[in-house]
Protein backbone atom coordinates (compact mmCIF):
# COMPACT_ATOMS: atom_id res chain seq x y z
CA UNK A 1 0.00 0.00 0.00
CA UNK A 2 1.21 3.43 -0.76
CA UNK A 3 2.15 5.70 2.07
CA UNK A 4 -0.70 8.06 1.61
CA UNK A 5 -3.60 7.87 -0.76
CA UNK A 6 -4.25 11.55 -1.02
CA UNK A 7 -2.53 13.62 -3.61
CA UNK A 8 -1.50 16.88 -2.03
CA UNK A 9 -2.54 19.15 -4.85
CA UNK A 10 -6.18 19.42 -5.70
CA UNK A 11 -7.35 18.20 -9.06
CA UNK A 12 -8.63 20.80 -11.40
CA UNK A 13 -11.78 19.04 -12.61
CA UNK A 14 -14.20 19.11 -9.76
CA UNK A 15 -17.54 17.78 -10.93
CA UNK A 16 -20.77 18.11 -8.98
CA UNK A 17 -20.50 14.42 -8.09
CA UNK A 18 -17.41 14.99 -5.96
CA UNK A 19 -18.50 15.11 -2.36
CA UNK A 20 -17.00 17.66 -0.07
CA UNK A 21 -14.91 15.37 2.08
CA UNK A 22 -12.97 13.77 -0.75
CA UNK A 23 -9.91 15.46 -2.17
CA UNK A 24 -10.16 13.98 -5.65
CA UNK A 25 -12.69 12.15 -7.82
CA UNK A 26 -10.35 9.20 -8.01
CA UNK A 27 -10.21 8.94 -4.23
CA UNK A 28 -13.99 8.97 -4.13
CA UNK A 29 -14.28 6.26 -6.77
CA UNK A 30 -11.68 4.09 -5.07
CA UNK A 31 -13.48 4.43 -1.77
CA UNK A 32 -16.82 3.44 -3.27
CA UNK A 33 -15.34 0.44 -5.04
CA UNK A 34 -13.49 -0.75 -1.93
CA UNK A 35 -16.66 -0.29 0.09
CA UNK A 36 -18.62 -2.50 -2.30
CA UNK A 37 -15.93 -5.18 -2.31
CA UNK A 38 -15.90 -5.26 1.47
CA UNK A 39 -19.66 -5.49 1.50
CA UNK A 40 -19.42 -8.46 -0.85
CA UNK A 41 -16.95 -9.98 1.60
CA UNK A 42 -19.61 -9.77 4.31
CA UNK A 43 -22.07 -11.34 1.87
CA UNK A 44 -19.72 -14.29 1.44
CA UNK A 45 -19.90 -14.86 5.18
CA UNK A 46 -23.69 -14.40 5.15
CA UNK A 47 -24.15 -17.16 2.61
CA UNK A 48 -21.23 -18.95 4.27
CA UNK A 49 -23.31 -19.76 7.33
CA UNK A 50 -25.73 -21.66 5.12
CA UNK A 51 -22.95 -23.32 3.17
CA UNK A 52 -21.57 -24.53 6.50
CA UNK A 53 -24.93 -26.07 7.44
CA UNK A 54 -25.19 -27.54 3.96
CA UNK A 55 -21.75 -29.10 4.10
CA UNK A 56 -22.29 -30.74 7.46
CA UNK A 57 -25.72 -32.14 6.71
CA UNK A 58 -24.75 -33.26 3.23
CA UNK A 59 -21.86 -35.27 4.65
CA UNK A 60 -24.12 -36.83 7.25
CA UNK A 61 -27.25 -37.42 5.19
CA UNK A 62 -25.89 -37.90 1.69
CA UNK A 63 -28.67 -40.25 0.54
CA UNK A 64 -31.42 -37.83 1.38
CA UNK A 65 -29.54 -34.94 -0.19
CA UNK A 66 -28.96 -36.95 -3.34
CA UNK A 67 -32.63 -37.91 -3.58
CA UNK A 68 -33.74 -34.35 -2.95
CA UNK A 69 -31.37 -33.09 -5.58
CA UNK A 70 -32.71 -35.63 -8.10
CA UNK A 71 -36.21 -34.31 -7.53
CA UNK A 72 -35.20 -30.86 -8.80
CA UNK A 73 -35.59 -30.02 -12.45
CA UNK A 74 -32.06 -29.97 -13.83
CA UNK A 75 -33.15 -28.44 -17.14
CA UNK A 76 -34.78 -25.48 -15.47
CA UNK A 77 -31.74 -25.15 -13.22
CA UNK A 78 -29.36 -25.11 -16.19
CA UNK A 79 -31.51 -22.64 -18.08
CA UNK A 80 -31.65 -20.41 -15.03
CA UNK A 81 -27.87 -20.52 -14.67
CA UNK A 82 -27.58 -19.45 -18.30
CA UNK A 83 -30.08 -16.66 -17.77
CA UNK A 84 -27.95 -15.31 -14.95
CA UNK A 85 -24.77 -15.60 -17.00
CA UNK A 86 -26.46 -13.64 -19.78
CA UNK A 87 -27.47 -11.00 -17.27
CA UNK A 88 -23.87 -10.78 -16.08
CA UNK A 89 -22.79 -10.23 -19.65
CA UNK A 90 -25.26 -7.39 -20.11
CA UNK A 91 -24.04 -5.85 -16.85
CA UNK A 92 -20.41 -6.07 -17.94
CA UNK A 93 -21.27 -4.59 -21.33
CA UNK A 94 -23.31 -1.94 -19.55
CA UNK A 95 -20.31 -0.84 -17.52
CA UNK A 96 -18.34 -0.71 -20.77
CA UNK A 97 -21.06 1.41 -22.38
CA UNK A 98 -20.94 3.75 -19.40
CA UNK A 99 -17.16 3.99 -19.67
CA UNK A 100 -17.52 5.00 -23.29
CA UNK A 101 -20.41 7.36 -22.61
CA UNK A 102 -22.97 5.51 -24.79
CA UNK A 103 -26.10 6.45 -22.96
CA UNK A 104 -28.75 4.72 -25.05
CA UNK A 105 -26.77 1.49 -25.15
CA UNK A 106 -26.31 1.69 -21.39
CA UNK A 107 -30.04 2.09 -20.79
CA UNK A 108 -30.84 -0.82 -23.11
CA UNK A 109 -28.30 -3.07 -21.42
CA UNK A 110 -29.55 -2.17 -17.96
CA UNK A 111 -33.11 -2.90 -19.02
CA UNK A 112 -32.00 -6.23 -20.48
CA UNK A 113 -30.39 -7.07 -17.16
CA UNK A 114 -33.63 -6.37 -15.37
CA UNK A 115 -35.49 -8.56 -17.86
CA UNK A 116 -33.04 -11.40 -17.25
CA UNK A 117 -33.45 -10.86 -13.53
CA UNK A 118 -37.21 -11.24 -13.79
CA UNK A 119 -36.79 -14.25 -16.04
CA UNK A 120 -34.64 -15.89 -13.40
CA UNK A 121 -37.13 -15.14 -10.67
CA UNK A 122 -39.99 -16.40 -12.84
CA UNK A 123 -38.30 -19.71 -13.53
CA UNK A 124 -37.40 -19.99 -9.86
CA UNK A 125 -41.06 -19.40 -9.02
CA UNK A 126 -42.12 -22.21 -11.35
CA UNK A 127 -39.67 -24.55 -9.65
CA UNK A 128 -40.94 -23.57 -6.21
CA UNK A 129 -44.49 -24.11 -7.32
CA UNK A 130 -43.57 -27.61 -8.48
CA UNK A 131 -42.09 -28.30 -5.06
CA UNK A 132 -45.28 -27.02 -3.49
CA UNK A 133 -47.36 -29.39 -5.58
CA UNK A 134 -45.08 -32.28 -4.61
CA UNK A 135 -45.45 -31.45 -0.89
CA UNK A 136 -41.73 -30.86 -0.61
CA UNK A 137 -42.08 -27.64 1.32
CA UNK A 138 -40.86 -28.24 4.90
CA UNK A 139 -43.50 -28.06 7.56
CA UNK A 140 -46.59 -29.98 8.54
CA UNK A 141 -47.54 -30.91 4.99
CA UNK A 142 -44.09 -32.16 4.08
CA UNK A 143 -44.20 -35.58 2.47
CA UNK A 144 -41.21 -37.47 1.11
CA UNK A 145 -43.06 -40.68 0.32
CA UNK A 146 -42.84 -40.01 -3.42
CA UNK A 147 -39.06 -39.90 -3.18
CA UNK A 148 -38.99 -43.08 -1.09
CA UNK A 149 -41.12 -44.72 -3.78
CA UNK A 150 -39.12 -43.36 -6.70
CA UNK A 151 -35.71 -44.27 -5.34
CA UNK A 152 -36.07 -47.65 -3.67
CA UNK A 153 -32.33 -48.21 -4.11
CA UNK A 154 -31.39 -45.54 -1.60
CA UNK A 155 -32.54 -45.30 1.98
CA UNK A 156 -34.38 -42.13 2.76
CA UNK A 157 -35.27 -40.87 6.18
CA UNK A 158 -38.11 -38.37 5.76
CA UNK A 159 -36.86 -36.07 8.52
CA UNK A 160 -33.43 -35.81 6.90
CA UNK A 161 -35.08 -35.30 3.54
CA UNK A 162 -36.87 -32.36 5.05
CA UNK A 163 -33.51 -30.99 6.09
CA UNK A 164 -32.39 -30.94 2.46
CA UNK A 165 -35.46 -29.02 1.44
CA UNK A 166 -35.10 -26.67 4.40
CA UNK A 167 -31.67 -25.75 3.15
CA UNK A 168 -32.84 -25.68 -0.46
CA UNK A 169 -35.53 -23.15 0.33
CA UNK A 170 -33.37 -21.12 2.69
CA UNK A 171 -30.53 -20.86 0.18
CA UNK A 172 -32.54 -20.27 -2.98
CA UNK A 173 -34.93 -18.03 -1.06
CA UNK A 174 -32.22 -15.74 0.25
CA UNK A 175 -30.54 -15.79 -3.15
CA UNK A 176 -33.83 -14.76 -4.74
CA UNK A 177 -34.14 -11.98 -2.18
CA UNK A 178 -30.74 -10.73 -3.29
CA UNK A 179 -31.95 -10.90 -6.89
CA UNK A 180 -34.99 -8.83 -6.04
CA UNK A 181 -32.81 -6.23 -4.34
CA UNK A 182 -30.54 -6.32 -7.39
CA UNK A 183 -33.46 -5.68 -9.72
CA UNK A 184 -34.42 -2.75 -7.52
CA UNK A 185 -30.91 -1.32 -7.68
CA UNK A 186 -30.85 -1.72 -11.44
CA UNK A 187 -34.21 -0.02 -11.82
CA UNK A 188 -32.73 2.91 -9.93
CA UNK A 189 -29.61 2.88 -12.10
CA UNK A 190 -31.66 2.67 -15.29
CA UNK A 191 -33.65 5.70 -14.29
CA UNK A 192 -30.54 7.74 -13.61
CA UNK A 193 -28.80 6.47 -16.73
CA UNK A 194 -31.82 7.50 -18.76
CA UNK A 195 -31.59 10.94 -17.12
CA UNK A 196 -28.01 11.06 -18.30
CA UNK A 197 -26.37 11.22 -14.90
CA UNK A 198 -23.53 8.91 -15.82
CA UNK A 199 -20.59 10.02 -17.89
CA UNK A 200 -17.21 8.50 -18.71
CA UNK A 201 -15.92 10.58 -15.78
CA UNK A 202 -18.56 9.44 -13.36
CA UNK A 203 -20.11 6.01 -13.61
CA UNK A 204 -19.25 4.65 -10.14
CA UNK A 205 -22.86 3.63 -9.29
CA UNK A 206 -23.00 1.52 -12.46
CA UNK A 207 -19.68 -0.07 -11.61
CA UNK A 208 -20.49 -0.96 -8.00
CA UNK A 209 -24.05 -1.95 -8.80
CA UNK A 210 -22.52 -4.27 -11.36
CA UNK A 211 -20.19 -5.76 -8.76
CA UNK A 212 -23.20 -6.61 -6.62
CA UNK A 213 -25.00 -8.22 -9.54
CA UNK A 214 -21.99 -10.33 -10.50
CA UNK A 215 -21.64 -11.47 -6.91
CA UNK A 216 -25.23 -12.69 -6.81
CA UNK A 217 -24.49 -14.50 -10.06
CA UNK A 218 -21.45 -16.20 -8.50
CA UNK A 219 -23.49 -17.39 -5.54
CA UNK A 220 -25.84 -19.07 -7.99
CA UNK A 221 -22.91 -20.57 -9.89
CA UNK A 222 -22.14 -22.49 -6.68
CA UNK A 223 -25.74 -23.14 -5.65
CA UNK A 224 -26.51 -24.81 -8.97
CA UNK A 225 -24.15 -27.79 -8.67
CA UNK A 226 -24.50 -27.96 -4.88
CA UNK A 227 -28.29 -28.20 -4.96
CA UNK A 228 -29.15 -29.69 -8.36
CA UNK A 229 -26.23 -31.94 -9.19
CA UNK A 230 -25.44 -33.72 -5.91
CA UNK A 231 -25.82 -37.18 -7.37
CA UNK A 232 -27.19 -37.50 -10.86
CA UNK A 233 -25.31 -40.57 -12.00
CA UNK A 234 -27.43 -43.54 -13.05
CA UNK A 235 -28.60 -45.57 -10.06
CA UNK A 236 -27.08 -49.04 -10.00
Amino acid sequence: MSDSPIAVEQHAEHGPELRHHFETAEQQRNAASLGMWIFLGTEIMFFGGMFCAYLIYRLNYFNEFAAGSRSLDVTLGTVNTMVLICSSLTVALGVRAAQMGKRTLLVILLLLTIVFGFAFLGIKGIEWYDKYKEHHIPGASFDASDLIRDYPQIHIDPSHEQLYFSLYFAMTGLHALHMIIGVGIFAFLTFHAWKGRYTPHYYTPIEIGGLYWHFVDIVWIYLFPLLYLIDRKPLG
Binding site: M1, R29, N30, S33, L34, W37, I38, L40, G41, T42, I44, M45, G48, G49, F51, C52, L55, I56, L59, N60, V74, G77, T78, T81, M82, I85, C86, S88, L89, V91, A92, L93, V95, R96, Q99, M100, E207, G210, L211, H214, D217, I218, I221, Y222, F224, P225, L226, Y228, L229, I230, D231, R232, K233, P234
Partner: protein, 97 residues
Protein backbone atom coordinates in the same frame (compact mmCIF):
# COMPACT_ATOMS: atom_id res chain seq x y z
CA UNK B 1 -10.26 0.27 -9.83
CA UNK B 2 -9.68 0.26 -13.53
CA UNK B 3 -9.89 2.97 -16.09
CA UNK B 4 -9.17 0.09 -18.42
CA UNK B 5 -11.89 -0.42 -21.04
CA UNK B 6 -12.00 -4.03 -22.13
CA UNK B 7 -12.91 -5.00 -25.67
CA UNK B 8 -16.43 -6.31 -26.11
CA UNK B 9 -14.98 -9.33 -27.93
CA UNK B 10 -13.35 -10.46 -24.71
CA UNK B 11 -16.67 -10.11 -22.87
CA UNK B 12 -18.42 -12.25 -25.45
CA UNK B 13 -15.63 -14.79 -25.24
CA UNK B 14 -15.99 -15.06 -21.49
CA UNK B 15 -19.73 -15.32 -21.84
CA UNK B 16 -19.49 -18.20 -24.36
CA UNK B 17 -17.03 -19.99 -22.09
CA UNK B 18 -19.37 -19.61 -19.12
CA UNK B 19 -22.29 -20.96 -21.10
CA UNK B 20 -20.28 -23.95 -22.29
CA UNK B 21 -19.04 -24.67 -18.78
CA UNK B 22 -22.64 -24.59 -17.53
CA UNK B 23 -23.70 -27.20 -20.07
CA UNK B 24 -20.60 -29.27 -19.30
CA UNK B 25 -21.21 -29.27 -15.57
CA UNK B 26 -24.83 -30.33 -16.06
CA UNK B 27 -23.84 -33.12 -18.48
CA UNK B 28 -20.89 -34.43 -16.50
CA UNK B 29 -23.09 -34.89 -13.46
CA UNK B 30 -24.87 -37.73 -15.25
CA UNK B 31 -21.67 -39.68 -15.85
CA UNK B 32 -20.51 -41.89 -13.02
CA UNK B 33 -17.11 -40.66 -11.89
CA UNK B 34 -17.40 -42.04 -8.38
CA UNK B 35 -16.39 -39.49 -5.78
CA UNK B 36 -15.04 -37.21 -8.49
CA UNK B 37 -18.46 -35.96 -9.58
CA UNK B 38 -18.50 -33.50 -6.74
CA UNK B 39 -14.89 -32.52 -7.32
CA UNK B 40 -15.50 -31.85 -11.01
CA UNK B 41 -18.66 -29.88 -10.28
CA UNK B 42 -16.86 -27.69 -7.76
CA UNK B 43 -13.81 -27.19 -9.98
CA UNK B 44 -16.01 -26.07 -12.85
CA UNK B 45 -17.99 -23.76 -10.55
CA UNK B 46 -14.76 -22.25 -9.28
CA UNK B 47 -13.49 -21.71 -12.83
CA UNK B 48 -16.73 -19.94 -13.70
CA UNK B 49 -16.58 -17.82 -10.56
CA UNK B 50 -12.97 -16.90 -11.35
CA UNK B 51 -13.86 -15.86 -14.86
CA UNK B 52 -16.63 -13.63 -13.57
CA UNK B 53 -14.43 -12.13 -10.85
CA UNK B 54 -11.38 -11.57 -13.00
CA UNK B 55 -13.03 -10.22 -16.14
CA UNK B 56 -16.60 -9.15 -15.50
CA UNK B 57 -15.65 -7.64 -12.16
CA UNK B 58 -12.36 -6.28 -13.56
CA UNK B 59 -10.17 -7.68 -10.81
CA UNK B 60 -7.58 -8.77 -13.38
CA UNK B 61 -7.05 -5.15 -14.34
CA UNK B 62 -7.37 -3.63 -10.90
CA UNK B 63 -4.30 -1.59 -10.17
CA UNK B 64 -3.93 -2.53 -6.55
CA UNK B 65 -3.83 -5.61 -4.42
CA UNK B 66 -6.38 -4.45 -1.88
CA UNK B 67 -9.40 -5.83 -3.77
CA UNK B 68 -7.70 -9.19 -4.03
CA UNK B 69 -6.90 -9.07 -0.34
CA UNK B 70 -10.55 -8.46 0.51
CA UNK B 71 -11.65 -11.41 -1.63
CA UNK B 72 -8.96 -13.75 -0.36
CA UNK B 73 -9.50 -12.92 3.28
CA UNK B 74 -13.28 -13.37 3.02
CA UNK B 75 -12.77 -16.79 1.46
CA UNK B 76 -10.14 -17.59 4.09
CA UNK B 77 -12.60 -16.72 6.86
CA UNK B 78 -15.26 -18.85 5.22
CA UNK B 79 -12.81 -21.75 5.21
CA UNK B 80 -12.12 -21.18 8.92
CA UNK B 81 -15.83 -21.53 9.57
CA UNK B 82 -16.16 -24.65 7.44
CA UNK B 83 -13.03 -26.46 8.59
CA UNK B 84 -13.26 -25.81 12.29
CA UNK B 85 -16.93 -26.83 12.30
CA UNK B 86 -15.99 -29.97 10.43
CA UNK B 87 -13.26 -30.60 12.97
CA UNK B 88 -16.09 -31.26 15.39
CA UNK B 89 -18.47 -33.17 13.13
CA UNK B 90 -15.88 -35.39 11.48
CA UNK B 91 -14.48 -36.58 14.81
CA UNK B 92 -17.74 -37.14 16.67
CA UNK B 93 -17.99 -40.71 15.44
CA UNK B 94 -14.61 -41.57 16.91
CA UNK B 95 -16.18 -42.32 20.26
CA UNK B 96 -15.79 -40.60 23.60
CA UNK B 97 -19.38 -39.40 23.19
Amino acid sequence: MSEHIMSSKLYYGIWITLMILTVVTAKVAFIDLGPFNTVVALVIATCKALLVVLFFMHVKYASEKLTRMVIISSIFWLLILLFLSLADYSTRALGHG
